[in-house]
Point group: D2
Chain length 321, copies 4
């Protein structure tokens, strides 16, 4: 049985990425693509890769659907839900950060949509707060260690592609500036730190300090992170903990060999690699920021909430090269 | 009914790209991956993006299959077929250039696998010579004009990604040299010129001169070409000819708006755009050199030869960004 | 004796590139940097590479100087000169296209500043129209052939870095779009065609048709062009003509080996390579669009007009890698 | 008075970069370029950017010179000096890591060539061990804090361009793999850690732990590092310490605004920026790995040892874009 889908904010990066995935998803049908700013324009005019994939025109009318994705700038999902009455039985998946920390909104209770820890809650959810991109990469890298109740200080550097900065033209997304360039931003103050700590502190006894330095990368898609922390266990023990933790995870793999970011680009996967030297360990993780870090994970959450195969529509060919 | 597939030369770029596509193709099952140099190694050790996608180990044994793809360096397909007896009813698709010009080999008669002109022949073929990457991009750009019998001199510049140069380490694929760099190679003498002219001259009365200047691009995937020639028709007439010519083509689209290369990267599509100024026209075309220019087109040919939906397994998400 | 210099439009790409060169030029002193939009801002705030190189603040006051560079958007140089009375003995070098085709403005007669053909006129000039970037690369590639009086149809493709599009934020200079992407623009209608033909037709008897297809490249600096045309001379004869033509040129070199764009990036050089196949020749040329294609050539023109060593301040270290 | 210079290992990246700088240095003359593997080849055949800059041919003969640069693979400088008797009064600057930790070799006592701490020793030195690239970037970022005697744990991530990996063709410098890719290597075990700690521990009472995660970047030139550590001082106090520490440093600047890597590429500069959040500080630093991280610093050391202006030959135009 085909479910109908609407996308609010369909002309942004995460919205259009959803269209790319859902156009080939066997169990859904795109019903409407909502955009206030580009209503009346064909989505394939904005994203020509969608020619012959999705022939729909952006609209400013909201229709009844089974599933609604919100792909709005941060803090606008709340406004949208306040202004538009969405029926209770509609599955809402919000890709913004509005409901990740405060998850109650009117009569909806948003489940944090990280399937690797919340799959059971997601199965019955009607409201899902999709995690942030850096938050996904860093949580997946650290979560198994919370089993040890020993986490204290975590030092993480992460680098992200330009799509993380969205569609608007900015000095830091000008090609002339960004090409071959590296820079830091929101040092120690990135908004995903609270999101990550909210999760980690659920599982860990001691309070955790996450010292996170985000970098802007000179590439378009992808996130790579390295987290350094003290850990007395042997490498083999740690690897075992990770293997166990992710044994049922559809998209996370623990690699004994070094990983590189591009091996997961254009897929919904997360690759993790652990190294140890003396009493310190470093956990590296890599995702595609628009897929496992946004739209791919949103579809994964939809699949789980609809009791479909978790991989449905997500068998994506890696760019690989 | 599932068909079995073997890939000869599975550890190269086009071979591994076939694995990426066929792992998710509903009608085939990979039976064996042949590699002389890497026999015994898991393919996902060489291409870590294949972790959890394809768990197979490269072998130097050839098994019986329904479909055989040859992904060998140029001129090695002949040697392979001479040394290995392949049953007559096996569908062979050769991605090298061995049978594009001389298409008879022993009792096999290779059909040139450009579906946009040879779909009927491909439907019943047991031997298919898959076109070259530049050859595909340039033929698709020019072919509709052969209807006019007026082609004489064509001036084409094309740029290709580094995957076009294959897997081996070379001075011109060293990152330090190639990044941010452009250069020309095989000026006027590229091996695809004969392949292109063989096709075009079938349809055109006058003999055509193709003056082709290939460039090395500072990107990994993709081909972009611009062909300049004299043409007295109005732009609208030319566009009409192209629209008609490709009305049944599953992967070719004629764009009235300018195109860019990245809109087709990681897809099997070819985008074409025509411009006119005075008596001259310029036809731009863009493909992914590893997909429509190699492995994607090979799967398209397989689908046609097996009487499956031409799109099967080829609904690939564009990288887009 | 030190000459004083003012730069109008100092906060753009070509203006700031002039500052980079002139800050280390032994015979000049920067007197003022004019910018209407950023008056009061330190230039090193806008371009942090200038920290400890140039400590000046942008101004909207024009002071008396010996030499004035105009680095304004096209067509604004005329407005500037109409609104501001510049003394006759001030050397004006305009980097815009205002005086390249129509070279008379009030009592000033602009010499076309391509030193390889106009060095004598430049020596005594007080007004110089600095050539365009593509115009420089293509003229230097073709000029020696005008000796033959045989030029008719020239087919040129050129690719340029994003700095050619200037500082403003545009869809086609967004990193997310431009990275790994190639596209065509102003096909057959680029404004430099008239500039090039004005020069070439001075030397050639027949009227020349230049069919020029410009491409946007996925790099920041540099231009690479390939021009194809008929020519019956032997390659050795052609090379001899080029060697002779440029024997006194300080920055042009004819290479018998293939060239690549990056070998001239961050220098004022132009590299040329010629290939022949049957009756066709292809001439490749490479420059840095901001240096030999703009600010470097402007300094070269200044050096010549001031009777200084042509290389002064232009012994720039190539980026090389 | 012009000094004569010889370069051993002139055909590598750091050797050729020295040639680029020294060809325009007013006080030196290149006497010979030594290369065992490419003897007899013109250096401009290998690096075409050197056409018309340096016309010399590589040799396997060593001549008498005033100054000798060793640009050999690590551990080969010792072999070279053991096999070749170099007069005592020749200034030797070694760009390898042979004499950074153990600085005595026969009758030569190598001074560690970080001018920001050892300028007086360098002034009278005849043997200089030029620092490593990451070592330079990280030491310059951390050194002023040793004044506080409080350093304990430092968490640093650094990213380097492909030129850091040298000229040889490797899987990790293949363009197809490296483009748009990020990966970690030598996690916590990079050879520069000991070099850094040797310096830092000279000035700091407590023993320092440096937890360093190096990353491979998808660019050619440049290093960017971020170091996180605990520090109770106010940001203004810290900035003051840095400003004081580097008040006489010719190439180090402390920026109150965020820095980006490209602002120092193709220069000998080091840019530093400090941020503070609660009790943690992060120090970012950026250099060009081939210049301040290798050949540029070697020339700076030569200038100091010869009592020349420290900037001589090092007023390099930034690539900027």
């Amino acid at each position: 049985m085909i479910k109908t889908v609407g996308i609010i904010g369909a002309n942004g990066y995460t919205g259009s990425e959803l269209i790319r995935i859902l156009s080939f998803h066997p169990n859904v049908e795109l019903q409407f693509l909502y955009s206030r700013s580009n209503s009346g324009v064909k989505i394939s005019e904005i994203y020509p890769d969608l020619v012959s994939v999705c022939d729909m025109t952006l609209t400013n009318k909201i229709e009844e659907v089974d599933i609604l994705f919100l792909c709005l700038p941060h803090q606008e999902s709340k406004n949208f839900l306040a202004e538009n009455s969405i029926k209770e039985n509609v599955l809402i998946i919000d890709l913004g950060n509005d409901f990740r920390l405060e998850n109650i909104f009117e009569n909806r209770n948003f489940v944090y949509g990280l399937p690797e820890i919340n799959k059971n809650e997601i199965k019955t959810a009607k409201s899902i707060a999709n995690p942030g991109c850096f938050a996904t990469a860093i949580q997946l890298a650290i979560l198994p260690l919370t089993k040890l109740n020993l986490l204290e200080d975590i030092y993480t550097t992460g680098i992200t592609g330009s799509t993380g900065a969205g569609q608007s033209l900015q000095a830091t997304t000008h090609f002339t500036w960004r090409n071959d360039n590296i820079s830091a931003y929101k040092t120690l103050t990135h908004q995903h730190v609270d999101e990550i700590l909210k999760t980690l502190n659920q599982f860990n006894e001691k309070e955790i300090n996450l010292h996170f330095v985000p970098w802007r990368g000179d590439f378009v898609r992808g996130i790579f992170t390295s987290s350094t922390l003290k850990c007395d266990l042997k490498l083999e023990e740690i690897q075992k903990i990770y293997q166990d933790f992710y044994k049922d995870a559809a998209f996370v793999s623990i690699s004994e060999k070094p990983i590189d970011m591009k091996q997961v680009v254009n897929t919904n996967k997360c690759a993790i690699h652990i190294e140890k030297n003396k009493e310190m360990i470093v956990i590296h993780s890599a995702i595609d920021n628009l897929l496992k870090g946004a739209s791919g994970q949103a579809v994964q959450n939809m699949n789980i909430a609809e009791n479909w195969d978790e991989n449905l529509g997500l068998n994506l060919k890696a760019i690989a090269f």
